[in-house]
Amino acid sequence: MSVIVVTGAAGQLGRSTVQLLQSQGMLVHAYDRVSSESLPFSHTLVDLANPRSDFYWPEETETVLHLAGSRDIAGFSSAAAQEMLDSNLLSTATALAACGSHVRRFVYVSSMSVYAADAPVPTPESGPTDPVSLYAKSKWLGEQACHVFQTANSAFQLTIVRLAQVYGPGSPDHLAIYKLIDQALRTGCMYLDCMPDLKRDFIYLDDAAIALVYAVQTCPSGIYNIGGGKPVTMQELADIVAASVASPATVSFGMKRGTDRALAADAFRTITGFVPLISIQDGIARDVEWYSQKHNISRGKE
């Protein structure tokens, strides 16, 4: 029976995706560089940035879903640069080389941050790329590693998916959604250091996992955007958060100009039929619940 290899399986998106693949009756080999006792499936430890030189995926592997990577690190330091390159470029190079000549399909999970700041919004796959942050650069370099491997192995089927910002349980607190939820719950005064009309594209964790299962099962070679369906402005985001907490909340904004980010995901929808199921309203309502439990904050008035 053919096997799906999933890297980064202990991560936020990895664990959801592995469980979903298993529920579809697929045989999954899960890999991660860290062990996690809370995982409901077994996984193999491997550090793809420092692998054994003879490391290959199992013989029966049909597809590798390469999710392993590091999240964005704020600011710049040489240590941050090396961490990003280790986990987003070198680990991808290893994951590709470990395909040898026996693994024919590879799905690389990239990010919408690889697009240029002046790309049209919503951005189609043909939009210009010009990554700025260390994270975006390292994810884009991972894409280039995929192209190098494909150039040398013409029969190799390569799918690159560029994901919108994933949110949901397990997300880091520094995302705008959680800053807003935290402030709304604790003080009722929300503040974001950006303009209110800044646009972002969010996709809920469960939807992102479903999209990746589609990508593994049906997606042909090529580059595909996976978005949340409907970009929101920071003002809209704050209004939705305000409506989701039991107590009244106000919002104010700074003057920082950000880059609008939203994906045109029509190609992926046409090919796979994938439509996000969880609206931003539903997702935030769930996350208020999750976040308040995680930080032990009362959802009502203090």
């Binding site: 040489s78 390159l85 470029l89 280039q144 491997f149 150039t151 040398a152």
Partner: protein
């Protein structure tokens, strides 16, 4: 101002070091074998130090206290597409240079990074200018792209001015004796017909190392910033290259043409370097190939660099 050069005994470095000294600059020459290589070259403005960019220990350059310019030449050269080798390439070219930059951060004002035309891949539009999409197709090219990106980020964040030179196919004293030109010269010297195994009309951009040294010298002089293509300015077909090699060897044979591949083309648009650096390639291919032939196969070796002792790195 003092100029620190990594890869100082390599193809570009061994010509650049004396050129900068000749212009009155002070130079710290770094490489794994620098002190032996430059042992016979006693110059009061040269400080040659053995140095391993991949070493995790202290970079040992803490004694530099004035303004420093850093010229990054060290790199591992290959045409491999084996991604397992990426880590070794990046250890020198990317991680080594990142760590060195950080260790010199307080005194560093300029960086010149030697990149490669391979970052463009094989573009369909030629000549290719600096705004073209990067499309690396080898581990070496991918490393160059990664280094360009990371060094750009560093310089942006730390207020260091940066010039990136994307250099076309280099030849000259110290070049590894691989590739079409050196194969053709070897055949012509032996009285054999040079063998062309790709489309004979496919073309490349061959640039003599002395021209690259002149370009770096211009960047040093003008403190230029930005990305510059550095090449010969003109394409040379493989067939024409073979004929030139035969001619300089005074060999009356014709090349043997057995095209097994369609071949790939490269030709850099050097307008920006011409306009902003006043860069003009001076060594025409005919002359450059003749110098290489005499260097390699004549009894009266004309060494453009007189003091070449020891062995080159890599």
């Amino acid at each position: 101002m003092i100029w620190v050069i990594t890869g100082a005994t390599g193809l570009i470095g061994r010509s650049l070091v004396p050129a900068l000294l000749g212009k009155g600059h002070r130079v710290v020459a770094l490489s794994r074998s620098a002190s032996n290589f430059y042992a016979g070259f006693d110059h009061h403005r040269l400080d040659a130090r053995n140095f391993d960019l991949t070493s995790n220990s202290s970079m040992g350059l803490g004694d530099l206290s004035e303004d420093v310019g850093l010229i990054m030449l060290a790199s591992k050269i290959s045409v491999s597409t084996d991604l397992r080798k990426l880590v070794d390439h990046m250890a020198i070219d990317t991680y080594g240079h990142i760590r060195l930059t950080e260790s010199l951060r307080s005194v560093l004002t300029h960086i010149i990074y030697a990149s490669s035309c391979t970052v463009y891949g094989w573009p369909s539009q030629l000549p290719v200018d600096e705004s073209a999409t990067l499309n690396p197709s080898s581990v070496y090219a991918l490393t160059k792209v990664a280094s360009e990106h990371m060094i750009t980020s560093m310089c942006h964040n730390w207020g260091i001015s940066l010039a990136i030179l994307r250099i076309s196919q280099l030849y000259g004293p110290g070049a590894p004796l691989i590739g079409a030109m050196y194969n053709f010269l070897k055949a012509a010297y032996a009285g054999d017909r040079p063998s062309i195994t790709c489309n004979p009309d496919s073309y490349r951009d061959y640039c003599h190392v002395a021209d690259v040294v002149r370009a770096i010298d211009a960047v040093v002089l003008q403190n230029s910033k930005g990305i510059y293509n550095i090449g010969s300015g003109q394409p040379t077909s493989i067939l024409n290259l073979a004929k030139i090699c035969l001619q300089v060897a005074s060999c009356n044979l014709e090349p043997e043409i057995e095209p097994r591949t369609i071949g790939t083309n490269m030709w850099l648009d050097i307008s920006r370097a011409r306009n902003e650096l006043s860069y003009e390639p001076r060594i025409e291919l005919q002359l450059g190939v003749q110098m290489e032939y005499e260097r390699l196969y004549s009894n009266h070796q004309k060494m453009p660099v007189q003091f070449c002792k020891g062995s080159p790195e890599g």
